[in-house]
């Protein structure tokens, strides 16, 4: 493990920002710290950078305990949420700053700065000031500035939060490609699950100062370890009054259950050709257009579940009575999660995409 945290605790007044945080990050990977706001993810990042110090626990980089190493000596690149570009310096001087501080010879600085500026695609903008750049360009300068002194670890705090949606997707792909080319170990903080799932090699899910789960995106998505993760990832519906669906009568020992939209099929009454014995009847409560699909909320046995429906299929209407087929449900017993299949359709080889 290249970066390691062991039982790290941190409190601000009576607010516990980190509680027994432990994890390890392999070299060269892009890691996403994912959690809702106030879950302590930025605090973890700032402690690794040395901008905050933990109350207890160890932070190790490359096997060395760095708790008492000053932030300036850790050799870490940091990209701030608001970029924190030096507003009275040009793009060139911003990128050159770290090298000048290190007293690198002038010709080397020039070479490196021009290389970085070319790398982030901002040729010809060396003489501009931050206020003359767009959000995406500022982001690129911040990235070039953080990487110019050749850090061995790059930390990014909500790197795309301040950028509009269209440019954001573009920048995400760009960043992933960039980090893959440079092979630099990186950790980024985000509250956006799509962002984390799309670009991270590994995701660390945080909640209330604790680590909920660590794993590759597919694992986090398919096998949530805790109720929180199951609820936080995907657009899930929470069932907290027990499961009253056909095919799930045998489920016992549950405190909570979660249904993802992709676990639910909604069909016009009477059009369901298979698994009639597994289906329930429901009434459409809400239909919202999501651009590439409809999100439909159906009330089944007094429980509202969410489903997606392709635009290709015939349109359903508000208040319509429909057939609802529930394939599987996440069931939680305390802090243990398991996936339960609909018992009435287990014998089938139906695959739902």
């Amino acid at each position: 493990m290249y970066v390691e945290l062991k039982n790290v605790n941190k409190t601000f007044g009576d607010y516990q920002a980190s509680e027994q945080v432990s994890f390890g990050i392999p070299k060269g990977k892009l890691i996403g710290l994912l959690g809702p706001s106030g879950s302590g993810k930025t605090t973890i990042l700032r402690m690794i950078a040395g901008l905050e110090s933990p109350d207890s626990g160890d932070i190790l980089i490359d096997g060395n305990r760095i708790n008492h190493v000053a932030a300036s000596k850790r050799g870490i690149g940091f990209v701030f949420q608001s970029y924190a570009l030096f507003r009275y310096m040009t793009v060139y001087d911003n990128v050159a700053f770290g090298l000048k501080v290190k007293k690198v010879p002038k010709n080397e600085i020039e070479e490196r700065v021009f290389y970085m500026i070319r790398l982030v695609g901002l040729e010809g903008m060396e003489k501009r000031y931050p206020h003359q750049l767009s959000g995406g360009q500022k982001q690129r300068v911040a990235f070039a500035r953080a990487l110019a002194p050749n850090p061995h670890l790059l930390l990014l705090d909500e790197p795309f939060a301040a950028i509009d949606a269209k440019v954001r997707t573009e920048l995400r792909e760009w960043l992933k490609k960039m980090i893959n080319t440079l092979k630099i170990t990186s950790i980024f903080v985000t509250h956006d699950q799509d962002e984390a799932i799309e670009i991270a090699d590994q995701i660390i899910v945080t909640n209330k100062g604790r680590i909920e789960q660590i794993g590759i995106p597919a694992e986090i998505y398919k096998k949530p370890a805790t109720p929180f993760v199951a609820k936080f990832i995907g657009h899930s519906s929470l069932l907290d009054q027990g499961i009253r669906f056909r095919g799930f009568e045998a489920v016992e020992n549950l405190s909570q259950a979660v249904i993802r939209p992709e676990f639910v099929k909604v069909a016009r009454k009477g059009t369901l050709k298979e698994h009639m014995s597994a289906a329930e009847e429901g009434r459409i409560e809400e239909i919202s257009f999501r651009g590439d699909s409809y999100e439909i909320k159906v009330k089944v046995n007094e429980i509202v579940v969410t489903a997606n429906r392709s635009l290709e299929k015939e349109e359903l209407h508000l208040g319509e009575t429909v057939d609802v087929l529930i394939y599987r449900i996440y069931v939680f017993d305390g802090n243990v999660a398991r996936l339960v299949q609909n018992a009435n359709m287990v014998d089938s080889n139906f695959i739902f995409i």
């Binding site: 300036s72 570009l85 700053f97």
Partner: protein, 274 residues
């Protein structure tokens, strides 16, 4: 339609006229009076009054006191602002309040405080006497009083702008920059205009200081007389035209400072709009 637009123009015009009249009565007329009275007995007498050896001494002392006060207040003002805006510690609010005391306390009382501390009846008198250092009725007293009275100007101006910016400093620190480099390269450009503005206000106030200085000066002509004190002495001696002549020097200083102030304010605003 026509009527309302005329009415709409009437109110601002009226306000402008009232303001101009007010400024003429309160500001322009007195200043003109000073200049007219100063030149009443002809240019030669004016030149004589201004180039009188005591006037020149007083001018020198005023400049020395002003420059020293500005330098010291800039230095400590920067430190105080840095401390208050960058660190969180117990008693931070208290320190901010203490910095404002010179604004609240009457200058005469400020003078008395030093008089009672360092004067013949003060506890520090014997110690100072042993090392042969005189504060009261001497130049150090004048400088001390000026520093005290003008202390809050610079820190007050820079604390708000300094508090705004911390991520840029963190970014610089993470790249390995040391405290002074961060201050010089990141903080100073940011607070530059506020600092200059504070320095200008501080200079203007230092030059005109009368109350505290008056208590500590002892009015020794050519030794501990600043320009405002010199004006008072001349006035009390019924040398009106000389008094007005010396006053005109202060008026000219004030006008120069006001012009510089406006330039600084304009440039600062233009830069922050970018």
């Amino acid at each position: 339609m026509k009527k309302t637009s005329q009415q709409g123009r009437l109110v601002p015009r009226l306000l402008v006229i009232v303001s101009i009249l007010f400024l003429i009565v309160m500001l322009v007329l007195p200043i003109v009076t000073v200049l007219v009275n100063a030149l009443k007995n002809g240019w030669n007498e004016y030149a004589a009054a201004v180039s009188d050896q005591y006037t020149i001494k007083a001018m020198q002392l005023t400049l020395v006191a002003t420059i020293t006060a500005v330098l010291i207040n800039t230095f400590f003002g920067l430190f105080a602002a840095w401390l208050i805006s960058k660190f969180k510690f117990r008693g931070r609010k208290m320190l901010t309040t203490f910095l404002d005391i010179p604004f609240a306390v009457s200058p005469v009382i400020a003078g008395l405080i030093f008089f009672l501390t360092f004067g013949r009846i003060g506890w520090a008198y014997d110690i100072l006497n042993k090392i042969n250092f005189q504060i009261v009725f001497a130049v150090p007293g004048i400088i001390l009083a000026t520093i005290f009275v003008t202390m809050p100007f610079i820190s007050r101006e820079i604390i708000p702008v300094m508090s705004l910016q911390s991520e840029e400093e963190e970014a610089a620190a993470l790249m390995g920059a040391k405290g002074f480099t961060i201050f010089r390269k990141v903080t100073l450009p940011h607070i530059k205009w506020a600092l200059l503005y504070g320095i200008i206000l501080c200079s203007a106030r230092a030059m005109g200081e009368f109350g505290a200085v008056s208590v500590l000066s002892g009015h020794l002509r050519g030794k501990t007389n600043t320009l405002p004190l010199h004006v008072e002495i001349l006035y009390n001696e019924y040398q009106y035209s000389q008094a007005f002549a010396v006053s005109s020097i202060l008026v000219i200083f004030a006008i120069v400072i006001l012009i510089v102030r406006n330039i600084v304010e304009y440039k600062g605003r233009k830069e922050s709009e970018q």
